[in-house]
Symmetry: C2
Subunit: 155 residues, 2 copies
């Protein structure tokens, strides 16, 4: 894994390298976290849904989950199918809108969400422990700035 700290190609511009640095770091993060949730969950995507459900104060529909996690509704269907089959979540018909479901954690789903979250937070701390408080703040600020660049100027 050590080798993959370096990007695979060289870039003509530093701004391109910076953008690829983010992409590459996230790719590595994904690789590492992929196995992290096993064997309890199949993927990070499933974990994200459990965490969101556990942290939310409001009731969430499938649409809400998709919007918040930037996941297509058709993908949400399958993710929830699998989480439902495992007994982590349940779909309850919405009280007034018969097109919609309210998604809730089951008791065991909530327990699992909290157990995995605890493990996850610990790992996050390990990963970030080499960075100073100032650097942490700088990452948050700079990433926001890049996202603003992404949001403007179209596709």
């Amino acid at each position: 894994m050590k080798a993959s700290v370096d990007l695979p190609i060289e870039f003509a511009s530093r701004e391109h390298e910076a953008l690829m640095s983010i992409w590459w770091t996230s790719l590595l993060l994904k690789k590492v976290s992929g196995k992290f949730f096993q064997p309890e969950l199949a993927s990070e995507a499933q974990f994200n849904i459990l965490v969101l459900l556990n942290d939310s104060n409001e009731e969430l529909s499938q649409k809400d989950l998709g919007v918040k996690l930037l996941v297509d509704k058709s993908n949400i269907t399958g993710l929830l199918d699998r989480l439902e089959k495992q007994g982590c979540i349940e779909r309850t018909p919405h009280e007034t809108d018969r097109r919609s479901y309210t998604i809730r954690l089951t008791k065991s789903g909530k327990k699992l969400a909290e157990k995995l979250d605890k493990r996850y937070v610990k790992r996050v701390h390990e990963i970030m422990s080499a960075l100073t408080k100032k650097e942490i703040e700088e990452i948050i600020r700079l990433m926001r700035k890049v996202r603003n660049g992404l949001a403007t100027g179209g596709g």
Copy 2:
């Protein structure tokens, strides 16, 4: 898209928020770039292969592509199947190792790689134009530091 500049949940610690900032920025980047290569290519993954082949000085095998891009060999098989069917790349049997293929861009594949790369570099410049040179350097440095954190301390 503007709404998604903000992360979907709040975090107990700033280091967790920083890590999720990277993840979220990369997710947005992926969304934006996903459509960027269409209709010529199906995905960023295909673009990455073309760019790597175009930029490399050495001959690359399927294994080399997978190692450099952190993509499983079984995934490389499918990606190259599709790129080959489109006429972008060709598999040539390795001169001495009969298990292996040398992957090369076709003439039209090279042309496409260069065309898309040009378009891509322009877009990258738009995205990053709001950042100062110092900030660009800081992103490169900080992302490397995070990757070092990921590489140490196991899984």
